[in-house]
């Protein structure tokens, strides 16, 4: 009789480290690659490199923006109504501040591994026997002087049948399913980029210069 499969043996040796760690490492690597690409984009597009590689400085690329403000002009006539006019001024804005920096990255990894080991053994025996006997006899006799005749008739039958069957069934099956679901979504802005953006955004605020007598 074959032995049933040892379950422990079936699951021993599975590369669980690779099964779980593989997709995670791949996702981290993809994120790393995307971050590096984005950093390169920022440095190449939004900054201007000055100086040599050893002593390079990066200046933000500035773009011109128009600021339209309403200005109230007091009337030159006493008691006259003030007039409102619009004044256009230009200001420089770092290009980086208008790029929607939130980037795509892998934010969820689902790993699922199902393994099914089936092992079954069945042994079936059946034996059947049948016996039937049928006997039939008839006797006919004529006794007498003269022509003598005697007739004996008889029949007998015997049937016997036997059958036996032996059925042995052994089945073993393995099935495994391994699925990795990766979801990429918009990540919040990295803190470092946020700090740079904040500093650049503040740099567009007009600075009030002190007057000659020291006031502002």
């Amino acid at each position: 009789m074959p032995e049933l499969v040892s379950m422990a043996q079936q699951f021993t040796g599975l590369p669980m480290g690779d099964l779980i760690g593989g997709p995670l490492i791949a996702a981290a690597s993809a994120n790393n690659q995307m971050a590096a690409t984005q950093t390169k984009f920022i440095m190449d597009t939004c900054f201007q490199k000055e100086g040599s590689d050893d002593d390079a400085t990066y200046k933000p690329v500035m773009i011109k923006m128009l600021l339209t403000q309403g200005v109230i002009n007091p009337s030159s006539d006493p008691g006259g109504d003030p007039t409102i006019t619009t004044v256009d001024t230009t200001f420089d804005l770092p290009l980086m501040t208008i790029i929607p920096m939130n980037s795509l990255a892998v934010d969820n990894v689902d790993i699922s591994f199902d393994m099914e080991v089936k092992s079954s053994f069945s042994d079936e025996r059946s034996e059947e026997s049948a016996t039937s006997t049928a006997a039939q006899a008839s006797l006919e006799a004529k006794v007498g002087w003269g022509p003598f005749s005697a007739t004996v008739r008889g029949s007998i039958s015997h049937d016997s049948s036997s059958s036996s069957s032996y059925n042995s069934h052994y089945q073993k099956s393995n099935s495994a399913q391994y699925s990795v679901k990766v979801h990429a979504g918009q990540l919040p802005l990295p803190d470092g980029v946020g700090v740079v953006l904040d500093a650049l955004t503040k740099s567009i605020q007009p600075t009030i210069m002190p007057t000659e007598n020291g006031g502002s």
């Binding site: 995307m34 690409t37 984005q38 984009f41 597009t45 939004c46 690329v61 773009i63 011109k64 923006m65 128009l66 600021l67 339209t68 403000q69 309403g70 230009t90 200001f91 804005l93 290009l95 501040t97 208008i98 790029i99 929607p100 980037s103 795509l104 990429a184 955004t201 503040k202 567009i204 605020q205 007009p206």
Partner: protein, 59 residues
């Protein structure tokens, strides 16, 4: 939507870079000043946004 500080009053101005590029202006909720992109730098912004969209598409 991106945001920047209003140069006039310091309040946040929300804007869409793509719409800004198309010539739309955005107003400050604090002082009603309006910002828009100057024509002279439209090509530079368009190029940068195009590169950025390509980057997003590739990823």
């Amino acid at each position: 939507m991106n945001e920047l500080s209003c140069p006039a009053c310091g309040k946040k101005i929300l804007f869409d870079p793509q719409l800004l590029l198309k010539g739309q202006s955005f107003s400050c909720s604090g002082c009603r000043s309006v910002i828009s992109l100057a024509n002279e730098d439209k090509k530079q912004v368009e190029s940068a946004l195009h590169k950025f969209n390509q980057l997003q598409g590739n990823n």
